[in-house]
């Protein structure tokens, strides 16, 4: 046993250069992760973090530069080689087989393991230890984003990695779950394993990480010790200028308000055995108001979004009214025509067609009465003009004038998806997880845009698992759990603890035995 405290470098990347055509994604980047260290990789969208991590995991080959693993030069030609070294990765975009069970997905990612009782046992041990609740028999297609991520994390941990790379791991976790994950990661680090932690939540980075590498525009900006920095100083390093955090002003009261969205006693059966049935959901949203719906993944948010958007209509009881008009049974197109706009949870494959260009993808959310699709014809010129409006208004960065949706980074794609809806000037916007996996600057831009939309008189419903976000932008907060929605209460009148309690226990404002009757 070596007891020396001198840090032992586990992996050293040096002078890494990666070009895509004329675009240089990594320009002489260096990264050193020591054994037993939790290292943060920070940077805006497009800063080159994903490229660097893909090189480390063998998914991309660098054009120049060297990689040392435990002091020896290595080549990592493919992910198999990375795994053989002891690198495990949890991606931001999940790579799961929708039609297989959780257990089968675990086995598929682990060469030599079968979906048997032994694997189930090992997974259950990890799941219990790290507070990552999972039903091994559940089919992946029925799981929410948060639950899917748990599979990826457990799969990575099952490989007992020397280096665990996590890309935006906490974005779909509750504060409690995230805290549990941090404990896990700290345990891993104490055991001598290293963690490379990619996050935009600077508080988390400061709480968890003992070293940070900061990238901007494909170049290395700084190595820093996050514990000695403030969130503000870290953010300034990332974006190259000071970031102003967006906060919702207390809204002026007493204005005459119009109810835009009115949900009364909405009920819908569960879409499948693992889903959640909506029960007696009621909510009123006025013009100019932002309502946040908080809650842990799998609380019925996905089902509520589906009921509001009408993309998969299962509503059995109750009504949804948009500006007084009953739209309970209306199609998503009819709802758009009536002035509603929707931003779903999945950016690729739901909000956009991965292989279609951004201008073509505008068609997905355009109501049929809009000019771009007169008489069923695609007006490509009109679409391109519209796209350039979205791109310039929301600072969407990608290669080329009209790239395919899958070519954009998560944050840029989300800015595009939200910008596409806001430029339609909707009367109602329903957004599911607006800033999941989006960097600090883009997050602020998106939140600002949502607030401006509300200022302009639209009603905005934000479904979010990010409590910071909920408290930053909402006028009123409701909590979704087990298919029920609590009463929306003014942000000033609730604390984070109140909301956290509602999210986890669902005890509504009562004392003693007076729980709400099911």
């Amino acid at each position: 046993m070596i007891l020396a405290r001198a840090p032992q470098p586990l992996v050293q990347l040096d002078g890494i250069v990666k070009r895509f055509g004329a675009f240089t994604a990594n320009d002489g980047v260096a990264l050193t992760v020591n054994a037993g260290e939790i290292h943060a990789l920070l940077g805006e969208n497009g800063a080159g973090k994903s490229t660097l991590v893909k090189i480390l995991f063998g998914l991309l080959q660098p054009d120049a530069g060297s990689i040392l693993w435990q002091g020896k030069p290595v080549r990592i030609p493919h992910p198999e080689a990375a795994r053989a070294l002891g690198i495990a990765m949890v991606f931001q975009h999940f790579s799961l087989f929708e039609n297989l069970s959780v257990l089968e997905n675990l086995a598929l990612g682990l060469p030599g393991r079968k979906a048997d009782a032994a694997l189930s046992r090992d997974a259950a041990v990890l799941a219990r230890r790290y507070g990552l609740a999972l039903d091994p028999a559940a089919s992946v297609w029925s799981l929410s984003a948060g639950e899917r991520q748990r599979i990826e994390i457990i799969r990575a941990l099952l490989q007992q990695p020397k280096l665990l790379v996590l890309d935006e791991p906490t974005s779909v976790l509750t504060p409690q779950e995230a805290e549990g994950l941090f404990t896990t990661l700290e345990q891993l680090a104490a055991d001598g394993a290293s963690v490379l932690f990619i996050s935009h939540k600077l508080d988390e980075v400061r709480r968890l990480c003992s070293a940070a590498t900061i990238l901007r525009g494909g170049k290395l900006v700084a190595h820093a010790d996050p514990r000695r920095e403030t969130s503000r100083s870290l953010a300034a390093l990332m974006v190259g200028s000071d970031v102003t955090e967006v906060r919702r002003e207390t809204r002026a009261q007493g204005k005459e308000t119009v109810t835009v969205l009115e949900i009364s006693s909405l009920g819908a059966p569960s879409p499948d055995v693992h889903g959640v049935a909506l029960r007696d959901v009621s909510l009123k949203v006025a013009a100019g108001e932002i309502i946040a719906i908080a809650g842990v993944a799998g609380g019925g948010q996905t089902e509520l979004f589906a009921a509001l958007s009408g993309e998969a209509n299962r509503v059995s009881t109750g009504t949804i009214r948009l500006l007084g008009r009953n739209i309970t049974q209306a199609s998503i197109t009819a709802r758009r025509d009536a002035g509603a706009a929707f931003v779903p949870e999945e950016r690729l494959g739901q909000a956009t067609l991965p292989r279609a260009t951004l201008s073509d993808n505008l068609v997905l959310s355009l109501p049929r009465v809009d000019s771009a699709s007169r008489l069923g014809w695609l007006d490509r010129k009109g679409l391109r003009e519209r796209l350039s409006a979205v791109v310039s208004a929301f600072d969407v960065r990608g290669s080329g004038a009209d790239p395919e949706a899958r070519r954009l980074s998560g944050g840029n794609l989300q800015k595009y998806v939200i910008g596409r809806e806001i430029l339609r000037q909707p009367k109602l916007l329903v957004v599911n997880q607006p800033t999941w996996g989006v960097d600090a600057a883009a997050t602020q831009n998106i939140r600002l845009a949502l607030m401006q939309l509300a200022e302009a008189g639209a009603a905005v419903v934000v479904i979010s698992q990010d409590l910071d976000e909920v408290f930053a932008i909402a006028d009123r907060i409701a909590v979704m759990r087990a298919g029920r929605l609590t009463e929306a209460r003014p942000t000033a009148a609730v604390t984070r603890e109140d909301v956290g309690l509602l999210m986890t226990e669902g005890v509504v404002e009562t004392h003693g035995g007076q729980r709400d009757a099911a």
Binding site: L59, L60, H78, P79, E80, P111, G112, S309, E311, A312, S331, I332, T333, R336, F342, P344, E346, L348, G349, Q350, A351, T352, L353, P354, R355, A356, D360, V363, L364, S365, R368, S373, G376, W377, L378, R380
Partner: protein
């Protein structure tokens, strides 16, 4: 040891278009080896299969004639396959189209009216649409796999045609041969050039190809078809009705196959027989993929495939090679195409374990 297929991040357009060309080349080499193993000269076979059909006037005409149904059916199938709907039963829709259109000719035999031919074409299209609507509706309403139902309906269509030409529609003067009366001139598709064999069906096919290109690339419907095939959730998010698109692509596919069927009996055969297709409906599946499900590609692919079919007939005479060899070659070609497609989108990595 194990082979892994890892998805490629970037596939250039050139590479995508080269794939079918390379696949065709590989299939030619494999075919050559088979011919060589059968004791014939592969070079001579190449001449018979490829060079001769392209260098002789009559053979070029035969190629266009055979390419016509392949083009029409392949164009229709592209709609289905783009929407991720697996219509395997174009052969049946072709037969029903021929049966319905031919039925009009049989029932109006002797009238010679101007409306007979248009009515035949419409009946053929309607018949093919009806036959294709069955698997589409079964899928939409009951969730039955359209692969199975569309394929099973092929055999029903063939038996129905067989029954009609042996029974109700048999020509009483045909010495008990199972065939209908020869169609009137008014019930026959005229040749494009006087004295030639290529008929108006080719024009229909080219018009269909142009229309398909426009629909798939320039209309909302085409975008919906693409969305449904690529990411069904985004199709739902975009407000496209999944069932309606399923029905529409089947109707288009069936209608075009039906048109091909009636054009075949009215342009080429001139009567109904127990068999009116040497498997055009199945061959067109290969054509659709060889043409990368794009209209211009399918036009080209149908010509290539027709050339192989003509070559196979020549090879029977010139090299005494069995006609089945052409089918083997078709199979090899499809295999190479799908394999090439997989290798274009993925790279092979040797793995352990």
């Amino acid at each position: 040891m194990r082979l892994d297929l890892l998805p490629r991040d970037d596939v250039s357009r050139l590479r995508e278009w080269l794939t079918p060309v390379v696949a065709f080349g590989v299939a030619l080499i494999i075919g050559g080896v088979i011919v060589w193993l059968m004791g014939r000269s592969p070079v001579r076979a190449f001449q018979v299969y490829v060079t001769e059909p392209l260098s002789q006037g009559w053979a070029v005409q035969e190629i266009l004639l055979k390419a016509t149904p392949l083009m029409l059916i392949g164009i229709g199938l592209a709609f289905c396959y783009r929407a991720d709907r697996w219509n395997i039963g174009a052969e049946g829709q072709f037969v029903i189209g021929g049966l319905c259109g031919g039925g009009v000719a049989v029932l109006t035999h002797g009238s010679g009216a101007w409306w007979v031919l248009p009515l035949m074409l419409m009946a053929g299209i309607a018949g093919g649409m009806l036959w294709a609507a069955i698997p589409a509706s079964l899928r939409n309403r009951l969730g039955v796999s359209e692969i199975l139902t569309s394929l099973m309906l092929v055999y029903m269509a063939q038996l129905l045609l067989d029954y009609m030409v042996r029974g109700p529609w048999r020509d009483p003067k045909a010495f008990n041969f199972p065939q209908s009366v020869m169609f009137d001139p008014a019930a026959t598709l005229p040749p494009l050039l006087a004295g030639g064999r290529v008929h108006w069906g080719l024009v229909f096919a080219l018009v269909a190809a142009l229309a398909a290109w426009i629909v798939l690339n320039r209309t909302l419907l085409g975008f919906g078809i693409r969305a449904l095939g690529e990411a069904p959730r985004s199709a739902r998010f975009g407000g496209f009705n999944e069932r309606r698109i399923t029905l529409v692509v089947f109707l288009m596919s069936g209608g075009l196959a039906g048109l091909a069927g009636v054009a075949e009996v009215a342009g080429q055969i001139g009567q109904l027989q127990p068999s009116i297709s040497p498997g055009y409906g199945f061959t067109a599946i290969i054509v659709a993929f060889l043409g990368r499900l794009s209209a211009p590609g399918i036009v080209l692919a149908s010509l290539v495939m027709a050339m192989i079919l003509i070559g196979a007939e020549n090879a029977q005479i010139a090299l005494k090679l069995p006609l089945d060899l052409a089918r083997v070659f078709q199979g090899v070609l499809l295999f190479c195409l799908l394999g090439g497609e997989a290798l274009t989108r993925h790279r092979v990595v040797l793995g352990r374990g």
